[in-house]
């Protein structure tokens, strides 16, 4: 039990996974702190999450308008100072738009929104996710219209070399192939990290209980909170 861990959750206008993320963080025994996008500075926090869901209606480009919101200056500063920042789905898009993570998320090649259960494989061990072994396969929901991860030409090898690729879309056995790539992301990439900043397309906050279809989101978030297997139930 770690009641003292406070996790900021940034709410932009239009954000719609904020409630789910707050519920997930509370159920893990940490303290969610709602952060309004108009803030110019952050309170003292242990972690920050940019939750999923259509900030500013996803207008112009997903994440672009939120990336220009006042609070993002403070988030950028805090990230530079080493505060762990997690972007989920739209939060991932915002971090890319802001330049805190490499690459960008383009519309799915089908031109359609996609919502389904998806296996993802932990591509590399990360100090941000203690106890989450490389090769571990998680079952998590994805739900997005712009999830096709792309990087500038020549950047991909570098990302792999530096271990910045965190999650990849896979099959239930952890195999990577085209058939398990739901959105045309380069190298099946579902999540990337840049030092203490990480972004992922799947929604761990929706996979917190067996009755919702999976508890793997619990494991992922618990590990990011540094609670490992010891999280409260």
């Amino acid at each position: 039990m770690n009641n003292d861990l406070s996790v900021g959750i940034v709410v932009f206008p239009g954000s719609n996974c904020d409630h789910d993320t707050i519920a997930a963080i509370s159920s893990l025994g940490a303290k969610p702190v709602v952060l309004d996008y108009r803030l110019h500075s952050l309170p003292v926090l242990d972690r920050v999450i940019l939750p999923g869901g259509f900030s500013y209606g996803d207008y112009l480009r997903s994440g672009a308008l939120a990336a220009a919101a006042p609070i993002m200056d403070a988030v950028e500063q805090a990230a530079a100072d080493g505060l762990p920042v997690l972007g989920i789905c739209n939060g991932f898009q915002i971090l890319c738009e802001r330049g805190l993570l490499p690459g960008t998320l383009l519309p799915n090649p089908s031109g359609e929104f996609i919502c389904q259960w998806q296996a993802v494989r932990v591509a590399s061990e990360s100090p941000l996710f203690t106890g989450l072994d490389q090769g571990r396969v998680l079952r998590l929901p994805i739900a997005h219209h712009e999830g096709s991860y792309r990087v500038a030409q020549g950047q991909l090898a570098e990302l792999f070399e530096r271990g910045q690729i965190f999650l990849q879309y896979s099959d239930a056995e952890g195999q990577l192939h085209g058939l398990t790539n739901p959105n045309g992301s380069v190298a099946n990439i579902a999540g990337v990290q840049n030092r203490n900043v990480v972004g992922l397309m799947p929604h761990p906050e929706r996979a917190m209980a067996a009755y919702l279809g999976s508890r793997d989101g619990w494991d992922l978030l618990a590990s990011w909170l540094g609670m490992g297997e010891n999280a409260v139930c």
């Binding site: 206008p13 259509f54 500013y56 359609e112 389904q116 219209h145 009755y211």
Partner: protein, 728 residues
């Protein structure tokens, strides 16, 4: 000079207006009448028919009349729910028409003070070359709005027929929850309160949408009357929803009304009428998005994402603070006064003043004459004994009405909100409410082919089918909402079919003791004389006893017995998919409603003790009959490892496996409990027959005299892709 025809009224209605007012209305007033006396707003052709529906029930908190019905789920929570149609707008502009349909029904739920937790979409499309494109864009629109505003789409229904070629149907059900005991609606406005219009700036969008577009048949000349298309803005919709719910939660508004058809006119007039007060609306205060809008345009604009609040003066500051926080534009546009009128002013100049008793309550309704109820359509003979054929299995499960829907529902976010225990991949949705609380079971049906043949019997069947679905979970139905879609009510045949359909729904609701708490009527779904089938979309919400552990809808292991609960004594293919394939539609059979009612009670009782009687899984028989119900239980499992062997009486034929008579269930039962089930007729008075067992060979085999085998992989292919597989 504007005439009554210009606003879609008849000469008789025009005379009635003059008689009731004691004077001629001015142009603006005539425009207001045109909107509120339209079919869409006044329900003039259907209201007397709808009066037949039972509205009372032990769980009803609010019946028809408000923006949505409300039923009690638990000691803590009420459920608001309603179906709304957006058929005409979706044909004109499929993406925006469907999107604004979702936005509109969500605002109805919010206007009841409830937080939306689920949507479901009921769609009917044609079979011509335009249909796939329309479907694609309608689904895009429903997803665009629902996904962005963040309400999961948890179930739905999709059907096809050439009768929908020029009149596709887009009905959307929304469900919301609010604290039990909270009362919010349009009926609480008190004199001295301030009227605040919040949300999107008013533009010329959709002017005449209600009176003309939705209340007339389509034809070449309506092309020219297309109003400016309304564009949905789910982003504003989200801000509006959050702000409204915050205001309602703090009890700061005495009345809330969304702006839908006929915009400011209907919302102000209906709020005044429901609250028995007068209202003064100053059009010069309305925030306009476009320049030089005249009072007529401002009063009739159907710009989306707007809501009307009536706020007592003492709460004004707090309300404005909330609106500012959420960055929702607002304007004080008027006030509530004692009286019974809608007065429209521009600063000090009075532009219109009409008694709401005339404007809202005065529209002459079509009387219900006796002959409306007499069904005289031809009743084609039932299909004679038909030997089961291999190809029919593939044809039926590959029929557009039975096929896999994942390509549609994967475009909807079905999981946001952390409540979706069962989503669109199941026949019913199961929603979690909170730890320790009963859950919610939501199901929709729209079996149009049945009502096409016999609207009355089909109406009964539609309700029975919807209740059969929630019964598979042992859930207690709390209420029904119905979306009626029909042709031109001025033509005798569509009118009588609609009447029979409503009567059938009412009859079923009465027998099964489930109230109809609200719904929608969409008429004039008729193009160049071709009317759609009378089509009822039925939505049911039910109390789920144990949402964290739904009763499965597929067998867990080989050896499981397969039973049918309430098999029809005389199976009849009338109205089924197979009958259509065979070109011999027949007539929808008369159902034994007593036996169905009995079976519904039995299921409720037995599921509460499922473990004690070895009940492992349960699925309602629906479109495609028993065959499709069993096949879907097998092919939707991953991996597809279990099969079934059905052993039927020698003289059992296609009628037994493909009939679509509502109120039958497939039960999967542990073999050890066979003695209990063998005696269930004696002990419980319901009929149950054992038709076979689950095997570990991935095929469906039916022995009825001779044996026929369908490899599951082939059934799966037909289910996924349609068409007939080659005979092996």
């Amino acid at each position: 000079m504007l005439t009554y025809q210009d606003v879609g009224l008849s000469a008789r209605e025009d005379q009635e207006i003059v008689r009731l007012l004691g004077r001629r209305p001015n142009e603006l007033e005539l425009g207001l009448f045109g909107a509120l006396w339209s079919e869409h707003c006044s329900y003039k052709s259907s209201k007397n028919l709808l009066a037949q529906l039972p509205h009372q029930g032990q769980f009803v908190v609010q019946g028809p009349g408000g923006n949505a019905g409300v039923v009690q789920l638990s000691a803590d929570w009420d459920i608001a729910f309603k179906i709304e149609s957006h058929n005409h707008p979706s044909f004109v502009e499929p993406l925006q028409g469907a999107a604004t349909g979702v936005g509109g029904i969500l605002r109805d739920i919010v206007a009841m003070g409830a937080r939306p937790i689920a949507i479901a979409d009921i769609l009917k499309f044609g079979t011509d070359e335009k249909a796939p494109g329309l479907l694609h864009r309608v689904v895009e629109g429903i997803g665009a709005y629902g996904n962005a505003i963040g309400i999961p789409n948890v179930t739905g229904s999709l059907g096809f027929s050439a009768v929908y070629d020029a009149n596709p149907l887009v009905n959307v059900l929304a469900v919301g929850m609010r604290r039990h005991g909270l009362h919010v609606g349009a009926d609480g406005a008190r004199p001295e309160s301030v009227l605040i219009l919040i949300g999107q700036g008013t533009g010329r969008d959709g002017i005449h949408g209600a009176s003309l577009l939705a209340s007339q048949d389509f034809g070449a000349e309506t092309e020219e009357m297309r109003p400016t298309v309304q564009v949905g803005d789910p982003f504003m919709g989200k801000l509006l929803m959050e702000a409204t719910l915050a205001i309602v939660d703090q009890g700061l508004a005495d009345a809330v009304q969304d702006l839908g058809a006929a915009g400011l006119t209907s919302s102000t007039a209906e709020l005044a009428y429901a609250s028995s007060v007068g209202v003064v609306v100053d059009v010069s205060k309305v925030i306009c998005r476009e320049q030089n809008m005249n009072p007529y345009e401002i009063m009739l604009s159907e710009t989306q994402e707007r809501m009307l609040l009536s706020v007592p003066k003492k709460n004004l500051a707090a309300v404005l603070e909330i609106l500012t926080w959420y960055e929702v534009p607002y304007a004080e546009i008027g006030r509530v006064v004692a009286g019974d009128f809608l007065r429209v002013v521009a600063e000090s100049q009075v532009l219109a003043e009409l008694p709401t008793s005339v404007l809202v309550g005065g529209c002459p309704r079509l009387p219900v004459t006796h002959d409306v109820w007499i069904w005289d359509g031809d009743q084609p003979a039932a299909l004679e004994k038909t030997r089961l054929e291999l190809t029919w299995g593939y044809q039926v499960i590959g029929h557009p009405d039975c096929r896999d829907r994942s390509s549609v529902y994967q475009r909807y976010d079905s999981m946001i909100g952390l409540r979706t225990v069962w989503g669109p991949e199941h026949d019913v949705a199961v929603m979690h409410i909170e730890k320790g609380s009963p859950g919610l079971c939501v199901a929709v049906t729209a079996p149009a082919r049945w009502a096409a043949l016999d609207s009355y019997a089909g109406g009964i069947g539609a309700v029975a089918a919807a209740l059969s679905l929630v019964a598979t979970q042992g859930a207690v139905p709390l209420g029904i909402t119905d979306g009626i879609n029909a042709g031109n009510p001025e033509n005798s045949e569509p009118h009588r079919k609609m009447a029979a359909l409503i009567q059938g729904i009412g009859k079923a609701a009465e027998i099964f003791e489930v109230p109809v708490t609200g719904g929608n009527v969409s008429l004039h779904n008729e193009t160049e004389g071709q009317a759609i089938w009378p089509t009822a979309a039925i939505g049911v919400v039910a109390r789920h006893p144990n949402p964290e552990q739904p009763i499965a809808d597929a067998p867990p292991y080989a050896g499981t017995r397969i039973l049918v609960l309430n098999p029809p004594g005389k199976p009849d293919l009338g109205g089924s998919v197979l009958a259509e394939i065979l070109g011999h539609p027949g007539s929808y059979p008369v159902l034994d409603v007593g036996a169905i009612q009995h079976s519904l009670h039995f299921l409720a009782e037995i599921i509460s003790q499922a473990k004690n009687v070895g009940l492992l899984a349960c699925r309602a028989v629906g479109i495609g009959g028993l065959f499709v119900a069993v096949a879907k239980s097998l092919i939707t499992k991953t991996p597809m490892a279990l099969g079934a062997h059905l052993v039927l009486a020698e003289d059992a034929d296609a009628r037994f496996v493909f009939n679509e008579m509502a109120g039958q269930w497939v039960l999967f039962v542990e073999p050890d409990f066979k003695p209990f089930w063998d005696q269930v007729f004696e002990t419980h008075g319901v009929s149950v027959i054992d038709i076979g067992l689950v095997t570990d060979s991935p095929e469906l085999m039916i022995t009825a005299g001779r044996a026929i085998t369908w490899p599951l992989i082939d059934l799966w292919r037909a289910y996924r892709k349609g068409g007939v597989r080659d005979v092996r």
